[in-house]
């Protein structure tokens, strides 16, 4: 075991897969000599060279579209979108092309690629460097969507994503890059896509989270534990395909479900979780399925007071747990 930061685990994951498989390439803005604006690809260009670590022009649609073509012709590209906020020019390529290629060609053409993008706020990133965009993509059959919360998962899920035969969107919360550390084995381990993890077992309330919100939910659970509220914290890890079994068995046990997500609430990913729980665990529910999420404004404001107003935090999640527990 080695202690790694979240971003080091991602970098190690890419480097090891590139050593293992010559078909793996990285392309994106500033990913080469600079090693990415967050240094996620630092050192890859020096090790793998111009052919496999490609600095692209500022062209998100091209980054994804050319990756699709490269995947059609035998490579396994890792496309980096510098900020998730800038993924929208590539939306057509991701949704109309990458996601639909297998279905529309009855498996004749497939797109094994990973799109990595830093997401999330609380880092003074303002409207266009803070967004959570997962709901746009979890809606789309044909895409897989992964959001890790620990260095171990970051590496293990990235390995699975690179080896997966379908397009995988891999979101990394940028606030976690250097603030979250953890044990990462030196072995060639992987974490399968589609499996949630129970981070804290409990009996009274299930808190469903992913990414940074897992850490906040765990802190919140700790706070309310002192008041006698016993929370189970579920880390989804993969948003699509969703691990229904772990979700539903947790809610069937606790009878109460709170979903915490940073994105604005309306039509967010938590709405789908709420719908599934309402449909498939209705008889077990002992309170309203509840969402706590970002406010419904177009994006996160810059000023620190406004940013704090926008962001979920452990105290806000703890309040929501208390209200639900008291129901």
């Amino acid at each position: 075991m080695t202690i790694r930061t979240f971003i080091e685990a991602i970098r190690d994951g890419m480097a090891e897969e590139m050593r293992r498989d010559a078909a793996v390439i990285v392309l994106g803005e500033d990913v080469g000599k600079k090693g990415g604006v967050f240094l996620a690809t630092d050192g890859l260009w020096a090790e793998f060279g111009d052919d496999r670590v490609i600095d692209t022009p500022l062209t998100e649609s091209m980054i994804v579209g050319a990756s699709i073509g490269a995947a059609l012709n035998g490579l396994r590209p890792i496309a980096e979108i510098q900020f998730a906020d800038f993924i929208h020019p590539a939306f057509n390529q991701i949704v109309s092309e990458a996601a639909r290629m297998r279905y529309r060609s009855i498996g004749g053409f497939t797109v094994p690629m990973v799109i990595r993008a830093p997401y999330g706020g609380g880092v003074h990133g303002a409207l266009y460097h803070s967004q959570s965009v997962e709901a746009f993509f979890t809606h789309v059959p044909g895409l897989k969507v992964v959001i890790p919360s620990t260095p171990y998962d970051a590496k293990g899920l990235l390995r699975s994503a690179i080896r997966d035969d379908d397009p995988v969107i891999y979101f990394e919360h940028k606030k976690m890059y250097r603030s979250v550390r953890g044990d990462v084995p030196d072995t060639e381990f992987s974490v399968p896509l589609g499996l949630a993890a129970v981070r804290r077992p409990g009996r009274q309330v299930t808190v469903v989270a992913y990414g940074l919100m897992v850490h906040y939910a765990l802190e919140a659970a700790e706070r309310v534990a002192a008041e006698g509220i016993d929370c189970e914290v579920l880390d989804l890890r993969t948003l699509r395909p969703l691990d229904r079994e772990t979700l539903l068995s947790s809610v069937r046990k606790t009878g109460k479900c709170l979903i915490a997500y940073e994105d604005n609430r309306f039509g967010g990913y938590g709405a789908e979780i709420a719908a599934i729980v309402a449909e498939d665990a209705f008889d077990y529910l002992d309170g309203p399925v509840t969402r706590i999420a970002g406010p419904d404004v177009p994006a996160m404001p810059y000023n620190h007071v406004l940013e704090d107003w926008f962001m979920l935090n452990p105290a806000r999640i703890a309040d929501a747990i208390r209200r639900l527990a008291a129901y």
Binding site: R52, A66, G69, A70, R104, S105, P141, L193, P241
Partner: protein, 375 residues
């Protein structure tokens, strides 16, 4: 390099020699143009007879399509085509049956088993990338294919084809810039028929030729008469040879004409004058190529009659075959969402798998679950 249609018969008259081809090549090219036209015309008849709901046509584009596809290596090089690429697909190895199965959207449609609209062809075997409807996306796929070919040292050339209307999309700029920077083995073909559905070229493009835009990327831009099959062949060969030799991309604009409405749901007399339509008919590549091969003594009356009979048989066969093939089974509707069917969501309640046979593992698990827990 084995040219399609060559069949080992290297006899070559002066016309063929001037293009580095054999007589058999010229006849095979003509056959492909004529076959594409006949298949296309049959599609319209079937549409008007109520047999197929939709047609989008390549009539008027066939000469450019055949000439430009001919220098490529079939099954080795790649084409990302568009919805008018009927002759391109035939030139690259698809058959009239393949195309007609797509028109009828039958289970045995090799491109998509009836999932795609007609005109959205694709064939992994022939390296013809599956066509989608948002236009111009395919140029980036071809550029990515060329990138992979270069990295993997595959000696392949990748081609993207679209109309001049589509060429205005942002993806085209992003693609040409990147392909030019990396000198990728890539050829961009624009079939300019003068209309984006109803909007004439002068309202679409700020310069007389799309090819003029090539200079902005520092790559050659070539305008070619799309009614001249052999001029298209020569332009295509030069571009393909340059791409294969590491000389980077070329933009080829073929001036063609659109002999039909945009699609079976369009009425082009609403926005085109009779003069305009007559000019278009005068630029039909089929009679122009036929006259040239007649004048060269290659297309003798006997050969023409034999070819006409063969094409009629092929079109009849393809129509009858496709008409008789079964529709797709709704039980396959959930297939090919992911490589692993278990990664998909459960199917809807009406999904036809009463005994569990044919259902995805996820659906079976869901059904079992519902029975257990809700009972």
């Amino acid at each position: 390099m084995t040219l399609p249609g060559h069949n080992g018969d290297a006899a070559a008259g002066p016309l063929a020699v001037s293009f580095g081809l054999a007589d058999a090549d010229l006849l095979a090219m003509f056959r492909t143009v004529a076959l594409a036209r006949a298949v296309d015309e049959r599609m319209w008849i079937l549409n008007r007879a109520g047999r197929i709901p939709f047609v989008i046509s390549g009539q008027g584009h066939e000469g450019a399509q055949v000439g430009l596809a001919w220098p490529l290596r079939r099954g080795h090089d790649w084409i990302a085509p568009f919805y008018r690429s009927i002759a391109t697909c035939l030139a690259f190895g698809m058959t009239p049956r393949d195309l007609m199965l797509a028109q009828y959207a039958k289970a045995s449609d090799p491109g998509s088993a009836g999932r795609q609209m007609p005109g959205h062809y694709g064939s992994p075997e022939h390296h013809l990338v599956s066509v989608s409807s948002p236009v111009a996306t395919q140029i980036l796929h071809a550029v990515g294919i060329a990138l992979a070919a270069k990295i993997r040292g595959l000696d392949q050339v990748a081609v993207a084809i679209m109309g001049e209307g589509s060429s205005n999309q942002g993806d085209v700029h992003e693609a040409l810039n990147f392909a030019a920077i990396h000198r990728l083995p890539f050829v961009f073909i624009v079939e300019n028929n003068g209309y984006a559905i109803s909007v004439p070229a002068e309202k679409e493009i700020s310069v007389p030729d799309v090819a003029m835009r090539a200079s902005g990327y520092g790559i050659p831009g070539v305008v070619v008469d799309g009614t001249d099959v052999l001029a298209c062949y020569a332009a295509g060969r030069e571009a393909v040879e340059r791409a294969r030799a590491g000389g980077g991309p070329t933009l080829i604009e073929a001036k063609v004409t659109r002999l039909t409405a945009h699609s079976s749901d369009d009425q082009q007399t609403k926005y085109r004058t009779e003069d305009d339509l007559a000019r278009g008919r005068a630029h039909d590549p089929l009679p122009i190529f036929r006259d040239r091969l007649r004048a060269a003594g290659l297309l003798t009356p006997d050969r023409e009659a034999a070819l006409a009979a063969e094409i009629t048989d092929l079109v009849e066969d393809a129509t009858d075959f496709a008409e008789a093939e079964p529709d797709p089974d709704p039980a396959t509707g959930m297939d090919f969402v992911y490589a692993d069917p278990a990664a998909g969501e459960p199917p809807p309640p009406w999904h036809p798998a009463p005994d569990g046979a044919g259902a995805t593992p996820a659906a079976k698990a869901d059904a079992a679950f519902a029975g257990e827990e809700r009972g």
